[in-house]
């Protein structure tokens, strides 16, 4: 905190002379300033945009990149400046942080780009000033939700894991009807029966002509065709019961399932029937039984499993609970006040309907909501004045919380719209990613086929003519291909394309993977040596592009926590501050980690003889190494 007012430290120290005469002990010796150099200007060249500042300004925060010796890594001797190949627009804010001690977040910047820059320069985002903190946190949360959404969708759209139990697959079928046709059929059938059941409840009460034997009485359809309706009801309830029991059986956490809203609705929907079965003969409680039939209408809420819009509405109401509560409370207050006033105002007039304050409640509610039935009207002048005030205030009281609820609904609705759009675009996005990945792999295979890597000299010279044509490959590519070739030589496996891999995968699925896997488990690190599930492959793809992958990841996670933990960050700082020799082993340490992981993948064919699996095994390594090459 004091770094922001570092310029005033000399003043504070000078003012300490005021303590000297009253000091009870002798003063300590002052620290010796080792560098008595004058405060110099430092030139920072960020992708061409030059920034200049005092050295002391930067050194106010010694645990950041610019404030520590870490910046020496970026020093250019010939131009006597520090060059960073980063975004100059965001750097402006970072430099302002050093100058003013306050970090601001520019609204037009992308949150992830900003976070990356902060992480690069070693600044913790938690120190963002109050003025920008809310905006920053909101954007962060939105971004996290988006990433979480993507991950969830990925996980949901995974291929069925071979070792998923029947119970789990059933639960998946219930939760995501579009995963299998059975689930879809089930979904539509239940939807149909809900609709039928609700329609039956409604039609039951329609007057339907007269009974055949008793011409005088009008009966409802329910009474006339009692048996038919009863059979229909039974069928529906049976379907609902079966569905509920299946869901209960399939739920991963039964207790949580029983507590959830949807299951309570399910139970309430089918309970009246069973209670009715038990109680039909007892005439005394038939009144209660009739009441229970009202609960059958709750079946309509079962539709919320089928309709996203209903769910959004329900979620909105839940999230606006406080606004609704406030609305209710203020309405109640107003009702009581006005009802009291109207009662006493109308007490005098003869034949007035305002017989008591509770009786006046009805008038107040009808007036405040601007319904105005007209069954109770004030007759005295005073009553009319207060009545008009009542209706005016009613409009206000109701109108106030409504925009809040509406904006909440709008926000949630737009969120779901965005999620829908993302899902739709996801397919094209994934296709593009896959194309890029396979493009990389194909380039290497093409390269190989051009024979640029063959060992024999004659072929090389023969193809030299051809090679010259392909010489247009940039240096990066050639080096990359050389690397992949080294890998092939190391593992004694080769890269091939998708089709060959698929076909050999079929063959190898016969081979028992467990035995051979355990043999290689001991040699490879725990993290990546698991079954060839897509999930893990995807995880390895997500690792960022630097060799300091693990370290960066950790520090990113540290950044996202609320508590500021200085130590982990300084650890990564000290790693980079360490002498250059130390960083090299760090790099080489990472490489075998990745290669070892790759070795662990093609476990099944390892035990089989070399000649046979030279076709099949490379397929594994290829698909995994595709991931590595993406790194």
């Amino acid at each position: 905190m004091a770094a922001g007012v570092a310029a005033w430290l000399p003043f504070a120290r000078a003012a300490a002379i005021g303590w000297m005469p009253v000091a009870s002990a002798p003063m300590p010796a002052p620290p010796r300033d080792k560098r008595r150099t004058q405060d110099g200007l430092i030139v920072l060249n960020i992708s061409g945009t030059k920034f200049q500042t005092w050295r002391n300004t930067l050194e106010r925060y010694p645990d950041t990149l610019l404030g520590s010796t870490e910046r020496d890594f970026f020093y250019q001797e010939d131009t006597n400046e520090y060059f960073f190949d980063r975004d100059p627009d965001i750097f402006r804010h970072i430099l302002n942080f050093y100058r003013t001690g306050k970090l601001h977040y520019p609204r037009h910047e992308c949150i992830s780009a900003y976070d990356e820059e902060l992480a690069f320069f070693g600044i913790i985002p938690e120190i963002i000033g109050d003025c920008c903190y809310e905006e920053y946190k909101d954007r962060r949360r939105e971004n996290a939700e988006r990433i979480q959404d993507d991950e969830d969708n990925e996980n949901n759209n995974d291929l069925v894991l071979p070792d998923m139990t029947f119970r789990e697959s059933m639960w998946r079928a219930f939760e995501n009807p579009h995963t299998s046709t059975m689930a879809l059929v089930f979904y539509y059938v239940t939807g149909f029966f809900i609709a039928v059941s609700v329609m039956a409840n409604v039609v039951e009460t329609v007057p339907c002509g007269t009974m055949p034997n008793n011409r005088a009485k009008e009966v409802s359809c329910g009474e006339r065709y009692a048996l038919a309706f009863f059979c229909l009801d039974t069928a529906c309830v049976m379907i609902f019961t079966v569905e509920y029991l299946l869901r209960l059986m399939a739920a991963p956490s039964r207790y949580k399932f029983v507590k959830s809203v949807m299951s309570i609705i399910d139970v309430v929907a089918i309970m009246p029937y069973y209670i009715g079965l038990v109680m039909t003969d007892n005439e005394d409680v038939s009144g209660a039984f009739v009441t229970l039939r009202v609960f059958r209408v709750f079946r309509i809420f079962k539709f919320s499993r089928h309709s996203a819009g209903l769910r959004i509405l329900g979620y909105t109401l839940k999230s606006c609970a406080s606004e609704l509560g406030f609305l209710l409370f203020s309405l109640t207050m107003a009702i009581i006040i006005f009802a009291t006033v109207m009662f006493y105002a109308e007490k005098g007039s003869s034949g007035s309907k305002f017989t008591s304050i509770p009786a006046a409640f009805w008038y107040t509610i009808v007036t405040m909501t601007t319904l105005g039935y007209g069954d109770m009207v004030p007759k005295t002048i005073v009553g009319k004045i207060f009545g008009s005030i009542c209706s005016l205030s009613g409009v206000l009281v109701i109108a106030l919380p409504v925009p809040v609820i509406v904006s909440n609904f709008s926000r949630i609705y737009h969120q779901s719209q965005r999620a829908e759009k993302r899902r739709a675009q996801k397919k094209t996005r994934l296709a593009r990613i896959r194309a890029a990945k396979s493009g990389g792999a194909n380039a290497y295979l093409q390269y190989k086929r051009n024979g640029l890597l063959t060992d024999s000299e004659e072929e090389a010279s023969k193809e030299a003519g051809q090679a010259l044509v392909c010489k247009s490959n940039p240096t990066f590519e050639t080096q990359h291909h050389h690397l992949l070739h080294c890998l092939e030589k190391t593992t004694n496996h080769e890269f091939v394309d998708e089709q060959t891999y698929e076909s050999s995968c079929m063959e190898v699925s016969m081979v028992k993977p467990s035995a051979s896997r355990s043999s290689s488990l001991s040699s490879s690190p725990h993290g990546l040596s698991s079954c060839c599930s897509r999930r893990h492959k995807r995880k390895s793809f997500n690792v960022p592009n630097s060799t300091m992958a693990a370290g960066c990841r950790d520090s990113m996670q540290e950044l996202s926590t609320i508590q500021i933990r200085e130590r982990p960050l300084s650890n990564s700082r000290s790693n980079l501050n360490a002498k250059f020799e130390e960083t090299v082993p760090l790099n080489s340490e990472q490489q075998p980690y990745i290669t070892a992981a790759v070795i662990s993948m093609p476990t099944p064919p390892v035990t089989t003889p070399e000649g046979e699996d030279s076709a099949s095994s490379p397929d594994y390594s290829q698909s995994n190494i595709v991931r590595v090459s993406a790194l």
Binding site: A15, I17, M20, P21, S24
Partner: protein
């Protein structure tokens, strides 16, 4: 509440509504009139210091030192003057555990030599010049001026107690050994025992300077902050 009372209330309500309507028409002025003055406040407070040469002549700082000092000063106070609240704020940032506001108040008064409620750059630099480049006599003079709260030439026990409490406040709560209530008072008594030669209950400037010049520790500590700039 009988009908008469209710009628009166109804009439009252109607009258209030009528007044509101008149206000809307602007015929009746609502009584909010402090906003105008706030606007004037903001524009008045700006101050430019005297030229570099003049300051160089008046103080014992070199040109470069004055540049550095001014840059730091202006950075924190863009308007060119420090008022007491900003001063307290800045000073408190150096003592996060305790409450530095009381001592900052006394310091502010010591720097604000013309007592106009704000410390301009000239005041600031003059004060620093004495503290860092002045002779021992001048420094002791400055310290005496700091302790003498009402600037009457005498330090009384009450004044000293205030200063002492302010200094101990800066320590905050978490000290070792624990701060007791009577510690400042004891410290003041010790101070007066040392300084008050004629035991008249006040310390004059001569007693103060004499006593300090005879005390080795104090003399040595006065030279401590020579190289701060």
């Amino acid at each position: 509440m009988n009908l008469e009372g209710l009628e009166m209330i109804a009439v009252l309500v109607v009258v209030v509504l009528f007044v509101k309507v008149l206000e809307q028409f602007g015929l009746l002025e609502a009584s909010y009139d402090d906003s105008v003055e706030d606007e004037l406040e903001l524009s008045a407070v700006r101050h430019r210091p005297e030229g570099l040469e003049k300051l160089e002549a008046q103080t014992r700082f070199s040109r470069k030192e004055l540049q550095i000092l001014y840059r730091g000063f202006k950075n924190e106070c863009p308007s060119g003057v420090v008022n007491e609240d900003t001063f307290k704020d800045i000073y408190s940032q150096f003592f996060p555990q305790g409450d530095a506001s009381t001592y900052a108040h006394f310091l502010f008064n010591a720097f604000d030599t013309d007592h106009n409620g704000s410390v301009s750059f000239e005041d600031f630099v003059m004060g620093l010049s004495i503290l860092l480049r002045g002779s021992v006599q001048e420094k002791l003079n400055w310290a005496f001026n700091l302790y003498d709260i009402n600037k009457d030439g005498y330090i009384t026990k009450e004044e000293m107690l205030d200063i002492m409490k302010a200094i101990y406040d800066m320590m905050g709560k978490c000290t070792y050994p624990i701060l007791k209530e009577e510690t400042p008072r004891q410290h003041v008594d010790m101070f007066f025992q040392k300084m008050d030669k004629n035991k008249d209950g006040v310390v004059t400037i001569d007693e103060f300077i004499d006593c300090c010049q005879n005390d080795e520790n104090i003399m040595r500590s006065m030279q401590l902050f020579e190289n701060v700039i």
